[in-house]
Symmetry: C2
Subunit: 490 residues, 2 copies
Amino acid sequence: MASGSGVVEEVAKLIEVKAQRQSDEGKHKFVLKTPKGTRDYNPKQMAIREKVFSTIIGCFKRHGAETIDTPVFELKETLTGKYGEDSKLIYDLKDQGGELLSLRYDLTVPFARYLAMNKITNIKRYHIAKVYRRDNPAMTRGRYREFYQCDFDIAGKYDPMIPDAECVKIMHEILTDLQLGDFLIKVNDRRILDGIFAVCGVPDSKFRTICSSVDKLDKTLWEDVKNEMVGEKGLAPEAADQIGEYVRLNGGMALVEQLLQDPQLSQNKLALEGLEDIKMLFQYLRLFGVTDHVSFDLSLARGLDYYTGVIYEAVLLQNQGEVQFQQQNDHAEESVGVGSVAGGGRYDELVGMFDAKGRKVPCVGLSIGIERIFSLMEQKVQASEEKVRTTETQVLVAAAQKRLLEERLKLISELWDSGIQAEMLYKKNPKLLNQLQYCEETGIPLVAIIGEQELKDGVVKLRVVSTREEVDVSRRNLVEEIKKRSGQSS
Amino acid sequence: MASGSGVVEEVAKLIEVKAQRQSDEGKHKFVLKTPKGTRDYNPKQMAIREKVFSTIIGCFKRHGAETIDTPVFELKETLTGKYGEDSKLIYDLKDQGGELLSLRYDLTVPFARYLAMNKITNIKRYHIAKVYRRDNPAMTRGRYREFYQCDFDIAGKYDPMIPDAECVKIMHEILTDLQLGDFLIKVNDRRILDGIFAVCGVPDSKFRTICSSVDKLDKTLWEDVKNEMVGEKGLAPEAADQIGEYVRLNGGMALVEQLLQDPQLSQNKLALEGLEDIKMLFQYLRLFGVTDHVSFDLSLARGLDYYTGVIYEAVLLQNQGEVQFQQQNDHAEESVGVGSVAGGGRYDELVGMFDAKGRKVPCVGLSIGIERIFSLMEQKVQASEEKVRTTETQVLVAAAQKRLLEERLKLISELWDSGIQAEMLYKKNPKLLNQLQYCEETGIPLVAIIGEQELKDGVVKLRVVSTREEVDVSRRNLVEEIKKRSGQSS
């Protein structure tokens, strides 16, 4: 027994030693990575991102929008029952005592919660923030688990199709301003789809799930979508075939007129309402001069459950940049069509779901998917070999000799206090050459050089990095001179 | 038996009916709130927030910083062992299969992870983003569970105290630019504290926990801090008393000189290094002209484990706005002193913790705590009754008569396409009075009115809302005229 117990103790000790050793080894054995499906942005990427944001925000402000912000997480129950089959992709927080929380899946549901909570019935707002989906990431294609959405929404009871047309116009403006090449905005209406399902004999209870199948048509062949409808979802093959006839149609105003005459569809109240609204939408879009980029496409379904009327989606068309982009992807993704970069639609019931008395606030909005646009812009910048500056520094404060740290500190402080963007090297006695090289590397256009002579004369030698031109500027005029040369009004 | 089973069935049915009823009732019974310790920002609050951000970013850019971004969550192990006693406040995500994740607790640890991961040895960057702490919220005082940090850090091996002094200068500039009233920047050095602990006889193993106690001195009386050191942490009372003598000292350069002569402290290598550096820091800060707002304060300890050298913290001093602010708080918080709005310090070991070979990248940085500043700014705006515009709309496109929707759509489209910020009412036939009222309410300065006569004459009636002055402008010159009146160069 004593010896047996000795063995047990020995083993326990060995296990402990081993654990200790592992933990010692583990000390510097971090997995150095960001979580799956996420990325850091380095300064160059940030410079591109800020340019894209400023274009988008510029457009949203041009249309008179305010902005709001909401927390990154919501009460879990706020998100429950809003996303249909996609709900499984929501990130939950660990129950650490207190409320059950989930990361926001989009900005639309938090917006609806915000409206209901504050009893707001009219607002035009934009919101740019990150959202979270535990989806299968495909990062080379710009599909991430953490990604930005840029949302613009109009809430309020208004005359039909005026705000809806503005949303399409905004997508058109942004895609034009970003210069991403040719694009197409597909539009459809949930009521037309529901009408089609009805006249094709789909039972009411299957509308949403059949709609989800139709949504896959941009990435999947009709045959496979039909198999899903019939095999998985139990639809009669004839009904599926009939749906197939409709959802493969696309065109412009002529198609709207044709369907308004369709003997079956025109008998369906919902479809008729949808078609009349699409007709009005096209009329307004014609006045906005954007119909050349808009297509009435009956295969457009949009994934989310909450849409109730007009829906739209913008896709980039295959172009030079796109071909390059496709080639970078792994084979599995090569066959997939050009992805959508923006989408949205009307959701008249969502706010009511949050209101105790079910009071409705009709809404229509759009969302720009930024990550894919970033990927394209990054490639464009790389291809052009254009040099992207990541700072705005106007001038480097430099010393020509040793022992001038105190003088540099005094001068740079004067410049900062006058609003000049200035840097200096964090060395007591840097070499002039190193100081000039730093400017070349980082793109700083000016150098303010002090030496013993300059200090005696009360001047600073101002050097233009690109031309190597040097001029003595009196200390008193230095700020004004730098502002003048930076094209700033002083 | 049969009758007994009948009862069971009856009860089961009743329970089911009750559950059904509850779930029906529950349908519209959302708890309409944001998670504990979080808030929405409405458009007015966003306007203030953006003003504060633009001041801060302006200062960071003036000092030549680039910017980066990191994901909102990190691998859990990335955050482990970095925050000492505060680690319990970290939000974990639910294990849904895959990696274990936590929401970031600050921006410093993700920054260190970013540097190590990308083998970056030199960078000056800012990062403005939300961080998450499951702390006890006190929202009226601007203490939230989700809050912004505005971080500026300088990484790289440089000559001592030059980057450190710049960080203090930046805090000084930002607090001056934000016009929040008088403020004080306390500075200290972890090595001085550790030296004090050593000469007072604190065992090495207790340095960090005794440091945590000292950190409470800004909110707690010395007697209570001493009790914690002695009672909870087992320090000898004489050691505590001796610490008490030191940590209650504060002053300027004279105090530094005095402590350099202190018979005990001057014998401690760490303390001596710290004191020499503080002396150098004060010399540089004098050249920057900011010493009048800086105090060498031996009670300053900072909570986080990772600091290794100079530390600093900025507090707002009691002033008019502050008194008001205090009165709004509930009684329990009334006695608490004025909170800190910015802080930071040197952390030379953190990046090395992520490097497989332990390679160090010395860092120094600062963080501005924005929520408290927002609260103060919001009050300031409310008190001043200054009207905050939440949109930038320059002109409303209005109709003088009915049946002009199409003409309004055409005109507004022209304006948008020319870069004019324009709105219209989303009604087919709005009354002119309602259109003018909308401008009054939202602060839109101009109205472009079309009527049948104007259309015939090829003009638009441009009305200045504030003066009611009206002038006919030819359609061709409208864009230029609006830009001119908005002070935009055309």
